[in-house]
């Protein structure tokens, strides 16, 4: 039996993802480390502020992990939510686990406590970079119902690798934000096919932003995580400059494309309009060696 990543809650994902019985939660719900701001605004505040942090094992390897719960305020990062993530990342500097895993599901900063949330995002970014500099791999797992946008989208791309499912989405401004600010002619957020081929997992994988594309199962995410846990990124200045050059080249190649399918055509993929319909294994075969 496989377990859907997309359909599960954050706690359900942790339960099925980690080695049985290995999870130890820091600041569990009974500690009631909740948002002080939401109560002042007359909104019930979740006992865990929408994020679970703790320690566990994957295939016997030691990990520290963060899991955001999208169903609580879209997984948005408030003051406490952010502080729990920063605290976990800083703890990893001391504990030196085999990897830190971010099970992301977030619309970005929680607007009810926006200043605190923005500061938290900047602290998370700094903590991720320090960890990477110290040689602890930081991996992102993205496949939840709410996707990964805003500040957490930026954080994800600062990490060593993103593992994404077709259902996963990754971006800066989410579809509704683009439609609201630029108009429905620019981007129709209710057009699900458009949304997924623009910010969905398959496109993110083809553009090279995600290191691995997996089917929507917790077991597949687990397997991909084990495969990437010993990643040794080149963090030299030369590597950074090469990445900047690659991104400039990407704009030059695809900047004028009005739709993702135009990019897929330029990548030399046959029958690009069929890509969204393919199962993960068939998709990977059809696009083999043709990523940007």
């Amino acid at each position: 039996m496989t377990h859907s990543w997309y359909e599960n809650t954050a706690r359900g994902r942790i339960e099925a993802f980690l080695d049985a019985g290995s999870f130890e939660e820091f600041l569990p719900p009974q500690e009631r480390v909740a948002s002080p701001h939401l109560r002042q605004l007359g909104t019930p505040a979740a006992f865990d502020d929408g994020v679970i942090v703790g320690r566990g094992a994957v295939g016997g390897r030691r990990v520290l992990l963060v899991a955001q719960e999208g169903a609580f305020m879209g997984g948005a990062v408030g003051e406490v939510h952010g502080a729990k993530i920063v605290g976990l990342l800083e703890r990893a500097l001391d504990e030196r686990p085999d990897a830190v895993l971010l099970l992301v599901e977030s619309g970005g900063v929680r607007l009810h406590e926006a200043n605190a949330g923005l500061i938290a995002i900047s602290e998370i970014m700094r903590a991720v970079l320090r960890l990477r500099g110290a040689g602890v791999p930081v991996l992102v797992l993205d496949g939840g119902q709410y996707g990964c946008f805003g500040g957490m989208g930026i954080v994800s791309r600062l990490c060593d690798a993103v593992i994404i499912s077709e259902e996963g989405r990754l971006g800066l401004s989410g579809p509704e934000v683009i439609e609201t600010t630029c108009g429905v002619e620019e981007f129709d957020a209710s057009d699900r096919a458009l949304v997924w081929r623009t910010v969905g997992g398959k496109h993110r994988y083809l553009l090279g932003e995600a290191a691995a594309l997996v089917p929507d199962s917790i077991e597949a995410f687990r397997e991909a995580t084990l495969g990437l846990m010993d990643i040794k990124p080149d963090l030299s200045l030369e590597a950074l400059e090469a990445e900047h050059a690659r991104l400039e080249d990407r704009i030059a190649r695809f900047g004028a494309c009005p739709d993702a399918t135009d990019i897929w055509t330029r990548l030399g993929i046959e029958n690009p309009t069929t890509l969204p319909l393919l199962e993960t294994a068939d998709f990977l075969a059809a696009t083999d060696g043709k990523r940007a």
Binding site: R11, P29, T43, P44, A45, F47, A71, F72
Partner: protein, 105 residues
């Protein structure tokens, strides 16, 4: 937002102190239920924080039924609610109390 408190007596105390259990997510139309052991002199205390104001009697009716099914003692049940319907509340509490007690009502 409204905070409601209920207390029930006459339940049975578990022989062992069980671990806290959290069920559900505080999403729209849903609720989260935290069940913990507590020294309450044999009482079961239920504290509800709800976004929907003015439904105290409905909560009492639902919780009376839940306590009839799960007569627990020395237990604190804390609920955060974002407008769940009575049926959802009832099912979520069954789920939480089943996990807390190990299934023995």
């Amino acid at each position: 937002m409204e905070t409601l408190e209920f207390e029930y007596r006459g339940g049975r105390t578990a022989l062992t102190r069980n671990k806290p259990v959290l069920s559900g997510v505080l999403g729209s139309g849903n609720l989260e239920v935290l069940v913990e052991p507590a020294d309450l002199g044999g009482a079961c205390q239920i504290i509800v924080e709800t976004a929907a104001v003015g439904f105290g009697e409905t909560w009492r009716a639902v919780l009376d039924d839940v306590f009839a099914r799960w007569p627990v003692a020395d237990v604190r049940i804390s609920i955060n609610d974002a407008g769940a319907t009575p049926a959802v509340v009832s099912l979520r509490l069954d789920q939480a109390l089943k996990a807390y007690t190990g299934g023995a009502s």
